[in-house]
């Protein structure tokens, strides 16, 4: 032991060892202590193990194809070569969690509504029958390109027609086609006269089948760029083969809500709802006209969130749009705080969660440092920013004290799973991490991966809601477990 005359100030041996371990914390114990931590294990959504195994193969795809034996995909290629390919019977029904019957009904809505737009069909050679006399050069060009897009969509539909997951494929192909239309119209700068003319020509001359495609496209396009589409379909010209004035109303009704095969899937029901209804204070990611997340998506996401509790959105005065970034961020913080105070007054006994998308997540997390909220939900959490990685020694977010859920996309360019895990481990609050695989910064999954995973973006968004529900339910459970564990540790010391 220590020499004579040596004074140990009121420390028990175990306290001293603890202090020494704290001073000299260079290495971790070889076997991690088996105990509950305040970090939930990360939850990976839409992770396809086979695909990931393939990605981790040290060889290139080309090499795999050349050797044709080293990977699962290469094996499949070989089998396909030897067997006859059955092109007649559709593939097995993939396990898609939606009602196929209802999804089919939804899918056909635009097709049915064609009759509202026009009663008489035109001949199959409608394209040649269009009277092109007097068309300008740009009108010709726009029409030609537009028709080509319709033909492409037609071919796609033929490819998956009668497939078990046709509604899903249709949804995805419409999305892609709409993208092409949007690109095309942007090339023509959405010139009002030109696009109104195009709309008129298409409505008058398209075959009923193609008209159905057009309505599908318009419906989707409207959810992305509502004002531009409204301008386009405004009945300015009179005459033509169909009576537009009466149809505009019907058309508007149809265009209001784009269909989705997952619309009827009551996905949240597979989870228990939290027993106490919560209040969600949603911080916007930036100025309202910023197209960080598209308007329609945000709206439908918020209505989904309303299934878990009351949703209160923070809005900023319109004058704020003229502020610079720093002042705007400060304004966001102030407005969110005000809203929070209101919520505290109106629902004092309810759990209150701060919710934020992107930079809104940072505001929500920052606000939680000073406000007594139940928890924070950070969606598309930007761990890397202009000033480097957060979670630096100086970062205030290291001091988060309320339960926090982080949701990121594994292809996000402002975050990474590894860095999030390091950041999370350093927090002293209960926290969870949900990773949407193949999703970008705004938790959007690309068209290719939607097709591969049999999902649509609306389904992904529903899953995000499920993650929130999961977190809300599991935080109190973990809190109790940690309490019991702390008590046991205390008893051991005594």
């Amino acid at each position: 032991g220590p020499g004579p005359g040596f004074r140990m100030p009121n420390l028990t041996p175990s306290q001293l060892v603890k202090l020494i371990n704290l001073d000299h914390s260079y290495a971790l114990p070889s076997a991690p202590l088996e105990k509950k931590t305040h970090c939930f294990p990360p939850r990976l959504l839409f992770q396809n193990e086979e695909e990931i195994a393939l990605l981790n193969e040290p060889k290139s795809k080309l090499e795999n194809l050349l050797t044709r034996k080293s990977s699962k995909r290469a094996q499949k290629v070989k089998i396909v070569e030897e067997e006859d390919i059955d092109v007649c019977t559709p593939d097995d029904d993939p396990k898609i969690p939606y009602d196929h019957g209802k999804a089919r009904q939804l899918m056909k809505e635009c097709e049915k509504n064609v009759n509202f737009a026009r009663i008489h069909d035109v001949s199959e050679n409608w394209e040649e029958d269009v009277n092109k006399i007097g068309w300008t050069k740009s009108q010709r060009r726009l029409f030609k390109k537009m028709v080509q897009i319709f033909h492409d969509e037609h071919l796609k539909r033929l490819a998956y027609s009668e497939n078990a997951s046709e509604p899903l494929y249709r949804r995805l192909s419409i999305d892609k086609t709409t993208q092409a239309v949007r690109t095309l119209l942007t090339q023509f700068a959405w010139e009002t006269k030109l696009i109104q003319w195009l709309h008129g020509v298409l409505m008058d001359n398209l075959s009923l089948e193609y008209l159905g495609y057009y309505l599908d496209i318009l419906q989707t396009l409207k959810s992305k760029v509502p004002t531009l589409v409204e301008k386009m379909i405004t009945a300015s010209a009179s005459g033509g083969k169909c009576n537009r004035a009466t149809n505009v109303e019907a058309l508007n009704l149809l265009l209001k809500r784009p269909w989705d095969p997952y619309a009827t899937a009551i996905h949240t029901s597979k989870l228990k709802k939290p027993t106490v209804s919560a209040v969600f204070v949603v911080v916007p990611p930036g100025p309202p006209n910023g197209n960080v997340i598209c308007h329609q998506r945000q709206k439908s996401w918020l209505s989904l969130l309303a299934g878990l509790g009351k949703v209160v959105t923070v809005s900023l005065p319109s004058t704020a749009n003229k502020l610079n970034v720093n002042l705007y961020a400060e304004m966001m913080l102030v407005c969110s705080k005000q809203k929070l105070v209101e919520v505290f007054e109106t629902s004092p006994d309810k759990p209150i969660y701060l919710v934020g998308w992107g930079s809104g997540a940072i505001v929500a997390a920052t606000l939680s440092l000073t406000e007594n909220v139940t928890g924070v939900i950070c969606l598309g959490f930007p761990l890397h920013g202009t000033y480097g990685t957060r979670a630096d020694v100086d970062d205030c977010l290291n001091d988060l004290k309320h339960p926090t859920l982080f949701v990121i996309g594994d292809r996000a360019n402002n975050s990474s799973i590894t860095d999030m895990e390091i950041f999370r481990k350093g927090l002293s609050c209960i926290n969870g991490l949900s990773v949407i695989c193949q999703a970008d910064t705004y938790l959007r999954v690309t068209n290719y991966h939607q097709k591969r995973l049999f999902v649509t973006q609306s389904y992904v968004d529903k899953c995000i809601i499920d993650e929130i529900a999961w977190f809300l339910i599991n935080v109190p459970i973990l809190e109790d477990e940690l309490k019991v564990q702390a008590q046991q540790a205390q008893e051991q010391v005594l």
Binding site: I20, H24, A27, N398
Partner: protein
């Protein structure tokens, strides 16, 4: 005595591969180079990194020979271009008493097997960490540290040490351990203290100066071993005595010992503001200066705003190159749970005296591209 105002400067935009932030590492200066080894954070580091203060560049020399395992809170001295490493923590709860040398001229490691100088004394010091290891006139003095009496690394039975050892560096590159006899009252057992060697300008009166450390509580006492007589003394010091501390750094520049950082007890003001009574210690970023000529603690005038001072830290490394005190990395305090401590990644220097006017040769050098 008033000292001209000093100003910290953060070194930015270094090139080369920066070492990972850590604590418990050590550094020595060879000419314009800072050589950093060991330390760790969630794993002990065995990499050797070199920072060139002239080119502002980090590099990692490729080393050969008996490369030692990584170690933390160990002893590190330099004799010309020969670096010696002794002891430290090598795994969680496991300490070492191995001695290694690194020939910096060819980056070659070698494990040394020192023999006892005289028969009849212990063969070599026991495994330990947090000891001091100080070179004075061809002898490296080892003092104190912390040993683990337990066989099981996870079950720590700590013992604070107060033994003094002398490692003699023979002209033929061989080394041997000796346990010198000392007179007077020796310092109490401790670890994570600092030691510097000080000799008069004419090379007379070599002294070993021990400051601070940890022995269950942080220490602030100053001890001196007169190597001519091997007598311990506790010198009387004038001036404002800094707070007791451990895991700080002590660097001799001229006749002044600069103490930076470390763990200090919470003072009364802090206790009022904090509600958590478990927190008895905090890291500091204060700089203290002991004039060894006059044996007085001098007031250090810091000419700086808050953001241009290195943040509070402990377990960093500090070296002197010319008139500059360099510090790098170290841990930042109690804000994290102990097993996932965040370390600082910044490099700073403090110009403690005005640099001398450049000589002719230096001017010629500066005008050429290659230094």
């Amino acid at each position: 005595m008033a000292v001209p105002a000093l100003k910290w400067k953060r070194v930015s935009e270094t090139s080369g591969s920066q070492p990972r932030p850590r604590h418990g590492h050590r550094a020595v200066a060879i000419k314009d180079l800072m050589v950093v080894f060991g330390g760790g954070n969630e794993g002990i580091v065995d990499e050797l990194h070199v920072y060139n203060t002239v080119t502002n560049q980090w590099f990692q020399p490729s080393v050969k020979g008996d490369i030692p395992p990584g170690c933390a809170a160990y002893g590190f001295v330099v004799d010309g271009t020969r670096i010696l490493v002794f002891g430290g923590m090598i795994e969680y709860g496991r300490y070492s008493n191995d001695l290694y040398e690194l020939q910096a001229a060819r980056w070659e490691w070698k494990k040394l097997k020192p023999k006892p100088a005289r028969s009849g004394c212990d063969v070599e010091p026991c495994p330990r960490l947090g000891h001091s290891f100080t070179l004075i006139n061809n002898v490296v003095y080892l003092f104190g540290g912390l040993a683990n009496e337990s066989e099981d690394p996870k079950n720590n039975i700590p013992r604070y040490l107060d033994d003094l050892w002398a490692l003699e560096l023979k002209p033929n590159n061989s080394v041997c351990w000796d346990r010198p006899t000392t007179f007077g009252t020796a310092p109490s057992p401790r670890e994570s203290h600092t030691a510097v060697s000080y000799v008069e300008e004419d090379g007379s009166r070599p002294r070993l100066i021990i400051y601070g450390g940890m022995s269950g509580c942080r220490l602030g006492d100053l001890w001196m071993l007169h190597l001519d007589t091997m007598e311990w003394s506790k010198p009387s010091v004038s001036g404002t005595i800094p707070l007791p501390r451990s895991l700080h750094s002590a660097t001799l520049i001229g006749n002044k010992m600069y103490i930076f950082g470390g763990w200090v007890p919470l003072v009364l003001d802090d206790l009022k503001t904090t509600t958590n009574h478990e927190k008895e210690w905090k890291c500091t970023n204060s700089l203290a200066c002991l004039n060894l000529e006059s044996m007085s603690w001098e007031n250090v005038q810091m000419d700086a705003l808050d953001e241009s001072i290195p943040r509070a830290r402990a377990g960093h490394c500090a070296i002197a190159i010319h008139n500059r005190l360099y510090i790098w990395s170290g841990r930042d305090g109690y804000r994290k749970a102990w097993n996932n401590q965040v370390c600082c990644k910044d490099l700073w220097y403090l110009e403690v005296e005005k640099p001398p006017a450049p000589g002719r040769v230096q001017l010629v050098k500066a005008s050429t591209n290659s230094l």
